[in-house]
């Protein structure tokens, strides 16, 4: 544990430095995004035939694939991020304050990537506005996809507001040390700011956080998003009430992993050992273990419900799922991570930040794989399973794979840009760290804090 005292200077460092590494990273991220944009342009020109998708049924393909899988994965990362940040504020989990803003930014990034995926997935993205908004008053009554778009938009606005409100405090205080060239942005962000509003904003943020937590099971990743699949009666791979909790657990796993990776990167780049402490990683890792455990439990429930005297259609779908080598690999990876987290909990010596990082990458890969497979599985074993060409075949095309690079680039760019514009660690967190040092004492059980 570092003995340095966290200072304003620390959190301003990303804004006031410009390194070669930054440029390289920026270049790589931009390249990834541009490469996918070019590929997308080609897809727009040729049609969705450039993907590996096809028609389920007599056609022998899969209607949805990587695009939708990655879409729900990004939404999961985003929703998990906002839930985490809300929990920090609502439950006074002060220990995680230094990463709260990173979590909010992850939400914005995840939602941007998800929104982008909606467009990429469409056959006629040019009609999004006229066709979707034009009939919104009718379709909102029935279409889970419209619910999704609604909720995602709502949460984008909510998260941005949330982020914006907390930024006012910081910017107004750090203004003098912020670069002049972004002056207009700061002006807008702090429009009409007075110190008197701090209290009010604190309240507002608390209520927003409360809203996020309360709505998490229903409107975030535990409801509307899984309903996209779970409500369809004739795809036994998808149906069932378990999908709500399942999706929520995956969202939280992905978000925690994502935030760990991002925190790790910032800590390394800006010497933030004393701000984003080892303690934070230990805590996040335990939380990750907790949600992983929940996830595996839900998986087990699904499987037992299908294979043990399940109805024909369900049994067929679940048997195929557990027999799928990719599913087995993903579950083994996730289970292995859980074992590691458990062991390092018992023997703290087994912990290292690098290992936490590896665990995060494994979990993210595992959840992404699970998501894509989950989407495709529905089409492989439908209730109306008579077609000779069903289960069909699907493997993502190069363009679809590239979309993962592109959206990751997009999110990375967002962080790279934001980090030059505003502090990615809250001033509050610094003040708190300075004023309250004994909090750094080991408290490896996150539940204690919660």
């Amino acid at each position: 544990m570092s003995t340095k005292t966290p200072s304003e200077e620390d959190i301003l460092r990303p804004i006031n430095t410009l390194t070669k590494k930054y440029f390289i990273l920026y270049g790589v991220a931009a390249l990834g995004l541009v490469a996918f944009l070019v590929a997308w342009a080609y897809q727009l020109q040729q049609g969705l035939i450039v993907t590996g998708l096809g028609d389920w049924g007599s056609g022998g393909g899969s209607t949805w694939g990587l695009y939708i899988g990655a879409f729900i994965w990004w939404v999961g990362v985003a929703h998990g991020g906002i839930i985490l940040s809300a929990a920090v504020r609502l439950l006074n989990m002060d220990r995680y304050m230094p990463v709260a803003r990173l979590a909010e930014m992850t939400t914005i990034g995840g939602l941007s990537a998800a929104g982008f995926y909606i467009l990429v997935h469409m056959g006629r993205p040019d009609r999004m506005v006229t066709s979707v908004i034009g009939h919104y008053h009718i379709t909102v009554n029935n279409s889970p996809l419209v619910w999704d778009v609604t909720v995602i938009t709502a949460y984008f606005v909510l998260s941005a507001t949330y982020l914006g409100l907390t930024l006012r405090y910081d910017i107004s205080r750090l203004r003098d040390d912020l670069p002049d060239m972004f002056e207009p942005v700061y002006k807008i962000l702090t429009l009409g700011y007075t110190e008197a509003e701090d209290k009010v904003i604190d309240r507002m943020v608390w209520w927003l956080a409360a809203a996020v937590i309360i709505m998490a099971p229903l409107l975030l990743h535990g409801g509307v998003i899984p309903w996209l699949f779970a409500l369809l009666p004739a795809m036994p791979g998808w149906t069932g009430a378990i999908q709500g909790p399942m999706f929520l657990s995956i969202a939280l796993m992905s978000a925690i992993s994502g935030i760990m990776i991002i925190s790790y990167a910032f800590r390394r780049a800006y010497d933030w050992d004393h701000i984003i402490t080892d303690d934070i990683f230990r805590g996040l890792l335990l939380w990750l273990g907790f949600f992983t455990l929940l996830f595996l439990w839900f998986q087990l429930q699904t499987i037992i419900n299908g294979v043990f005297l399940g109805p024909t259609n369900k049994a067929v779908a679940i048997e195929a799922k557990i027999a799928h080598p990719i599913y087995q690999v993903a579950m083994t990876m996730i289970f292995g991570t859980l074992v590691y987290i458990f062991l390092q909990g018992i023997r703290p010596a087994l912990f290292s930040k690098r290992r936490a990082l590896i665990a995060s990458v494994i979990v993210l890969t595992g959840t992404l794989t699970e998501k894509i497979l989950f989407v495709v599985e529905g089409f492989l074993h439908p209730t109306f399973d008579i077609y000779a060409n069903t289960p069909g075949t699907y493997f993502p095309s190069a363009i679809e794979w590239l979309s993962l690079v592109g959206t990751t680039g997009l999110v990375a760019l967002l962080f790279l840009n934001l980090s030059k514009l505003v502090p990615v660690v809250e001033l509050h967190a610094i003040e708190h760290l300075r004023g309250d040092h004994e909090h750094g004492e080991e408290a490896t059980e996150p539940e204690v804090e919660a």
Binding site: L48, G54, P125
Partner: protein, 553 residues
């Protein structure tokens, strides 16, 4: 939609009253206005063609306003090209100058058009077309149509008569210019534990009726579900049910290609247009008679109302449409109540029509399968070796005093068997007459048989004990007749696909229902032998960028 309601405008009577008052305030003739408005709505519903509308009011408009910039018949076809939203375009036709104010335009539009036009202008924030479209379609909460239409197109498909020739599939793909592998109509043979194809076939003997088929067949068009999940989930209302006749269609101008309908449909009947369709838009054909604006190509028809017919353009969803251009009379009156697949089916296994009308073919086939099968077999099917003679044939062949056997011998092709079936049909018939609004081919064939039997009976009495026994009709009771028919055609059970999913399909099947573990097997005719592609993925894979052969999730 308020078809039977007094008011003609979807927004109801109150709205009309308000309009009438408003129109009274203008200097123009408000009766003419209201009349025009009514007809304008009829155009949007497809009951009246645009050309007729203009024809009807040209003189009046000239008289009233001294100008009429609307297109005449000659200009009609050109206008059709550009036409998108019916109402807004019709209104534009009155509106020569873009620079006019709303008020001026309305005046000039003619008060009648104003009635419709206000609706469009009033909701300008949504875009006029949408609000009008929504109104036209009677969209409220979508599922509950306020007033049920008495037409619902659908089918009854006799799986035991299907011989797997795939004629319906080829007819459909020709009619609709479908790409390879886009099998809106799909016919498959299947087996499951209880229904083996070859050995355990229900019919061990070849009869003319069962054609000795060794296969269990399933004929799978879109089911045009009354509670269609595909429609519920659509984020745009592109997938919609037409209020007037219950067809579930896709508006190719609105669909965003999200494919959620394909995901939600339990039957797998949707086919997405992944790339540019093989048949270019200009080449989509139909009944072409360039001089007659009512007999138009599919392409032009599509832009008349909502664009729902024929193959989909790139990036949108397609599926079996049940031939809306035929149902709308755009391919001639005699095609109303028929579909391309029905007309193409040699044994008459597909019976298309209004399933809400008890006199329609699908209803007759569903409710009286035994009798209807016999009728179809004796009259309607091109590949049957048995044909019932017509009354004329009988009258010209027979003479007074013939005995039964001589009479039968004297009519070409007539056998005791055929006569027995004809007589049985007459005995069980309730004598329901076919309706005249659509193709009720089973009932009209039944009438033909009834008159043939009547004609026959002028010469030979068929209601004697002797005749009954010769025809195998026992004591001549209705029950015996029914039994005789059953012997001939079998007594099929009927079912709907995935009834427990709650989609309320409008296709009913006669024959064996495939069990949950049924699997498609190779059928009597190979898809590629009739120029069809079965597994579309084979084609789609060619377009996949960076495809790795043989690798799949």
């Amino acid at each position: 939609m308020s078809t039977d309601d007094e008011s003609f405008h979807p927004l109801g009577e109150e709205w009309e009253d308000e309009l009438e008052t408003m129109l009274d305030d203008t200097e123009y003739d408000s009766d003419l206005g209201m009349e025009m408005a009514q007809d304008a709505m009829r155009v949007t519903k497809g009951e009246l063609s645009e050309a007729e509308f203009h024809e009807r009011y040209h003189e009046d408009v000239m008289e009233e306003f001294g100008e009429d910039e609307r297109p005449t018949k000659e200009a009609y076809e050109a206008a059709q090209e550009e036409a998108k939203g019916t109402v807004s375009n019709m209104l534009n036709a009155f509106d020569g100058d873009d620079g006019e104010t709303r008020r001026e335009t309305m005046k000039k539009m003619g008060v009648g058009a104003a009635a419709v036009g206000v609706g469009a202008f009033g909701a300008a924030s949504n875009g006029p077309e949408q609000s009008v479209t929504a109104a036209e379609e009677g969209h409220g909460p979508r599922q509950e149509t306020t007033e049920e239409s008495d037409t619902q197109w659908g089918m009854t498909i006799d799986l035991e008569r299907c011989d797997g020739c795939l004629s319906c599939m080829t007819a459909c793909s020709e009619e609709n210019d479908l790409d390879q592998g886009v099998n809106w109509m799909y016919v498959m043979a299947w087996e499951d534990e209880n229904h083996h194809g070859q050995e355990g076939s229900e019919y061990d003997v070849y009869t003319d009726f069962n054609m000795g088929s060794d296969f269990n067949m399933l004929v799978r068009p879109c089911q045009h579900c009354t509670d269609a999940p595909c429609e519920k989930v659509c984020p745009t209302t592109a997938r919609h049910t037409r209020d007037k006749d219950g067809l579930v269609l896709t508006d190719y101008d609105v669909c965003i290609g999200c494919r959620y309908c394909q995901v939600a449909c339990p039957y797998g009947v949707n086919y997405f247009q992944w790339d540019e369709p093989d048949v270019a838009y200009e080449d989509i054909d139909g009944l072409e008679d360039p001089d007659n604006p009512d007999q138009i190509t599919h392409a032009e028809y599509e832009h008349g109302e909502r664009w729902v017919d024929s193959r989909a353009p790139r990036g949108t969803m397609s599926k079996c449409t049940m031939c809306p251009s035929m149902q709308d009379g755009k391919q001639g009156e005699d095609k109303v109540g028929t579909s391309a697949c029905e007309s193409a089916c040699p044994p008459g296994a597909i019976q298309f029509g209004n399933v809400k009308d008890e006199r329609s073919d699908p209803s007759q086939h569903r409710e009286h399968p035994v009798k209807s099968r016999a009728i179809v077999h004796l009259t309607n099917s091109t590949d049957s070796t048995k044909t019932a003679p017509s009354a004329d044939q009988i009258n010209s062949a027979l003479s007074e005093g013939d005995d039964l056997q001589t009479a039968i011998d004297q009519i070409e092709g007539l056998t005791v068997d055929i006569l027995a079936i004809m007589k049985s049909i007459e005995m069980v018939s309730e004598g329901t007459e076919p309706g005249d609004e659509e193709n009720n081919s089973i009932l009209s064939a039944e009438q033909d048989i009834l008159s043939a039997v009547e004609a026959f009976q002028q010469y030979v009495d068929l209601e004697t004990e002797e005749a009954y026994s010769e025809l195998g009709l026992g004591d001549g009771s209705e029950q015996q007749a029914h039994f005789r028919l059953e012997q001939y055609t079998g007594d099929p059970s009927s079912f709907q696909l995935l009834e427990d999913v709650g989609t309320n399909p409008n296709v009913t099947y006669l024959g064996q229902e495939p069990g949950p573990e049924a699997q498609q097997v190779e059928g009597p005719t190979k898809y590629e032998d009739v120029g069809l592609l079965d597994e579309r993925q084979e084609y789609l894979d060619e377009g996949t960028v960076g495809r790795i052969d043989g690798v799949s999730l």
